[in-house]
């Protein structure tokens, strides 16, 4: 902040000095037309003139009236300049907003095209897997040239993350519908979680054959951040709509626990051959029960953690006293 103020002072000083030099050098305030989006060039102009100006300031001081005239003239000039500057700023702001609007419109169009292509490509996944080929097929179906697969630099993973995102959005709508947008009371949150996870995993069933490939793509380190973000938002949504409004560490533990169960059940489902995946849903139920038991056990040790904290504190102070390091105490 201090730097900005200094800069502003410098600007004012330059503004003060400039008309003299302008008269002197005959630049005639051309700088008004110069775009103020390049303050560096302006300051360069000013510094140049300032250097020349030092010769002028060497003249002797004029009479008092001369100074007053000079001052009023300068103030007039400053006012004009300020007004001009404000007008400039408004013009550039308009330019900027226009630019932004253009850009957002462009981006929306691009996204639309991307989504169209990816949605079409999903139908080709059973045949081609989660690969660029599927994207190319989808693009050609939509009437775009095959070279458009360059729009998807991540290749197959773009398809996987699009699919995940779509399923997550679908699940979210389902959850909102079930709970009246988070307002309704959930009697059995555990059961609600199980049903939500089940609903989400059933969306994978049509692509079950190729899902191992998708999981391999997700596991790649360069895609880890996107994949993680998707899973965590999914889990967060499920937990929120199941009625969890906690503000303590339980917030984190519950979501991470649910994410673990989700991934484990997903893996189990891939090798499950039972009719309509009954084994998978049983597996899911068992994991949920285990998680609940673990949480209850952790809650029991909650009382012990207070004792642990006190004992750590006490041990620290005792050790300090034994070692003779408490020299600056009472």
């Amino acid at each position: 902040m201090a730097n900005v103020r200094c800069l502003q002072k410098l600007f004012r000083l330059q503004k003060f000095v400039l008309p003299l030099t302008a008269q002197h050098c005959g630049h005639n305030a051309h700088f008004h037309t110069v775009k103020p989006s390049h303050p560096q060039t302006q300051s360069r102009v000013w510094t140049r003139n300032y250097a020349k100006d030092t010769s002028k300031s060497g003249d002797g001081a004029t009479a008092q009236t001369g100074v007053d005239e000079f001052r009023s003239r300068e103030e007039q000039r400053e006012r004009e300049r300020d007004a001009a500057e404000i007008k400039q700023q408004e013009e550039t702001k308009e330019h900027d907003t226009q630019d932004e609007e253009e850009q957002t419109a462009k981006r929306a169009k691009v996204d639309e095209v991307r989504n169209k292509i990816l949605d079409a490509a999903l139908q080709h996944v059973p045949q081609h897997g989660w690969t660029r080929n599927a994207i190319v097929q989808g693009a050609e179906e939509c009437g775009y040239p095959s070279a458009v697969h360059g729009m998807f630099p991540e290749g197959g993973f773009a398809l996987v993350s699009h699919f995940n995102g779509r399923c997550n959005a679908q699940l979210l709508k389902h959850l909102q519908g079930e709970t009246d947008n988070g307002q309704r009371e959930i009697e059995n949150p555990l059961d609600f979680l199980v049903q939500a996870v089940r609903h989400r995993l059933e969306m994978i069933v049509p692509y079950k054959q190729q899902w191992p490939q998708a999981m391999a793509l997700i596991a790649q380190p360069q895609h880890a951040s996107t994949a993680l973000a998707q899973v965590l938002t999914l889990v967060d949504d499920i937990c929120y709509y199941s009625g969890d409004r906690s503000v303590d560490f339980g917030w984190y533990t519950r979501r991470i626990g649910l994410a673990t169960i989700l991934k484990m059940t997903e893996l189990y489902m891939l090798q499950d051959t039972s009719p309509s995946h009954t084994n998978t849903w049983e597996f899911l139920k068992n994991r949920m029960d285990e998680a609940v038991q673990l949480q209850m056990m952790l809650a029991q040790t909650e009382g012990m953690t207070h004792t642990f904290q006190r004992s750590f504190n006490s041990a620290f102070i005792t050790a300090r006293n034994i070692l003779g390091l408490g020299y600056n105490r009472n």
Binding site: T318, N321, N330
Partner: protein, 467 residues
């Protein structure tokens, strides 16, 4: 001429010294001591075993012999000890370090002249396995510990305190409040009694037990646990098979350890740590039933952990000891309990992380409180007394004020270094033996048997615990 010169220089000297004194004494917040508050060098709050021993030790020390000591005890005057009467139910196992202390303050001859019992051997075993340990010196040359009644120790040290001319004892003097230099800003500690009397001192020693007022005022960090157990004490009569009754017996039951400490050839003292309800039950039982329950407690078979038994046998075989060599012996049968000798007291753990601050120090149970299973409680207090007197003497010799932090911190360092491992050990033993979870039983049985079979480890423990 010379006289004139001398008076002049005297006057100059006097003014100079007055100026110097004014500078030195200038303390902005000095509380003006009123005529009603007496000033002592050391005030000891609490006239129990440890407090009175401290007073006697300070009186005996040559460097501190000119210090005025005040001993404040809340109870009425000590009634004295009758060496011919029945044995009291509160006894302590005194180790050789504490005996050295008594000898140094000339209290040991008083105790010797009365009655005490040296213990030649200690046998400790448990209920879930065969592990066993026996503590003794080579060929029973020395006693492992001495069992002395608490009142006899008090009598001996009070006799020394009465003899000392610089120690004053005030009875019925319960401490109401304390002000330390860190709160008041002046250099002395202030004590106010319940009846309104006020005293100031350079050093206030808190020897007032686990609920110490001095410790609360010092504001030190305290870690305390309630064991939810009570200790039951009683005086017992033994049957004729006691022999010379020079063995102390301790068995770890699931609820806690039960110990028989010999008092004479025919009598022993009981210390039974058990749950609160069981302790109250035992206290209320008729004597015959109590004796039966007690005898059964030492012999009763509890569900054993086979794995632990096998492991102990294997360990013994490894060391080449046959089972006959460390054959478990059983304590003598108890035939009677003295009437009105059964009493209970609560058990807990308390550890103050700092024992000192400017102008105050803690000794005894005020600073540390342990489970009686190892007989260490009062012995730690006596070792505190020794270290404190040493530190105070060296500090006074070097010219420090008694309440000065420098030598008090040295006392604290020495004490903590000695006490904390023992406290952790005793607490660990209590925790280990309060469960019958198989892995824990296995662990503790192996540990005990290993200690029994390896003399270096056994000697280490004996040295730590018994001096």
């Amino acid at each position: 001429m010379l006289i004139l010169l001398r008076t002049q220089s005297e006057v100059r000297l006097r003014t100079v010294t007055r100026l110097l004194a004014a500078q030195l004494v200038a303390q902005p917040k000095q509380a003006f001591s009123t005529t009603t508050s007496e000033h002592y060098d050391i005030i000891i709050g609490g006239g129990g075993l440890v407090g009175t021993t401290l007073a006697a030790a300070v009186a005996k020390n040559k460097t501190l012999a000119d210090k005025k000591v005040l001993l404040l005890e809340g109870a009425p005057e000590f009634k004295g000890f009758d060496g011919k009467g029945p044995y009291h139910n509160r006894v302590s196992a005194i180790n050789s370090n504490s005996i050295q202390l008594f000898k140094a303050i000339d209290a040991w001859s008083h105790i010797e002249a009365s009655r005490y019992k040296p213990v030649k051997q200690m046998q400790v075993w448990e209920s879930n396995s065969d592990a066993l340990i026996q503590f003794q010196h080579e060929n029973f040359a020395n006693g492992v510990a001495c069992i002395i009644e608490n009142d006899l120790i008090l009598d001996a040290v009070y006799a020394r305190v009465k003899e000392a001319c610089n120690v004053k004892v005030l009875n019925r003097a319960r401490i109401e409040s304390v002000r330390l230099p860190q709160d008041s800003g002046c250099s002395n500690s202030e004590v106010t009694l319940q009846d309104g009397r006020q005293f100031t001192c350079e050093l206030l020693v808190g020897a007032d037990g686990a609920n110490s007022v001095v410790r609360k005022q010092m504001g030190v960090d305290v870690f305390s646990l309630n064991y939810e157990r009570m200790g039951l004490v009683a005086t017992l009569e033994l049957s004729d098979d006691a022999g010379d009754n020079a063995v102390a017996w301790q068995r770890f039951l699931p609820t806690g350890p039960v110990a028989l400490l010999p008092l004479s050839e025919k009598e022993s003292s009981l210390v039974w740590s058990t749950t609160v309800s069981h302790a109250k039950e035992l206290q209320a039982m008729p004597p015959e039933q109590f004796v039966e329950v007690l005898n059964e407690a030492f012999c009763r078979q509890y569900p054993r952990v086979d794995l632990a038994d096998k492991a102990v046998q294997a360990l013994n075989a490894f060391f080449g000891h046959t089972s006959a060599q460390h054959h478990r012996q059983y304590p003598p049968r108890v035939c009677n309990v003295k009437e009105r000798s059964r009493a209970t007291f609560p058990l807990g753990f308390l550890h103050a992380s700092s024992y000192v601050c400017r102008g105050a120090a803690l000794v005894g149970d005020a600073a540390h409180r342990v489970h009686p299973l190892a007989g260490q409680g009062v012995n730690l207090g006596f070792s505190d007394v020794r270290y404190l007197v040493e530190s105070l003497a060296s500090g006074a010799y070097a010219g420090f004020k008694l309440g000065d932090k420098q030598h008090l911190v040295k006392y604290e360092q020495k004490c903590l270094t000695k006490n904390v491992p023992i406290m952790i050990g005793v607490h660990g033993l209590h925790t280990l033996y309060s469960t019958d979870f198989s892995p824990v039983v296995l662990l503790r049985s192996l540990g005990l048997q290993l200690t029994q079979n390896l003399p270096p480890i056994k000697n280490l423990f004996m040295k730590q615990a018994m001096g």
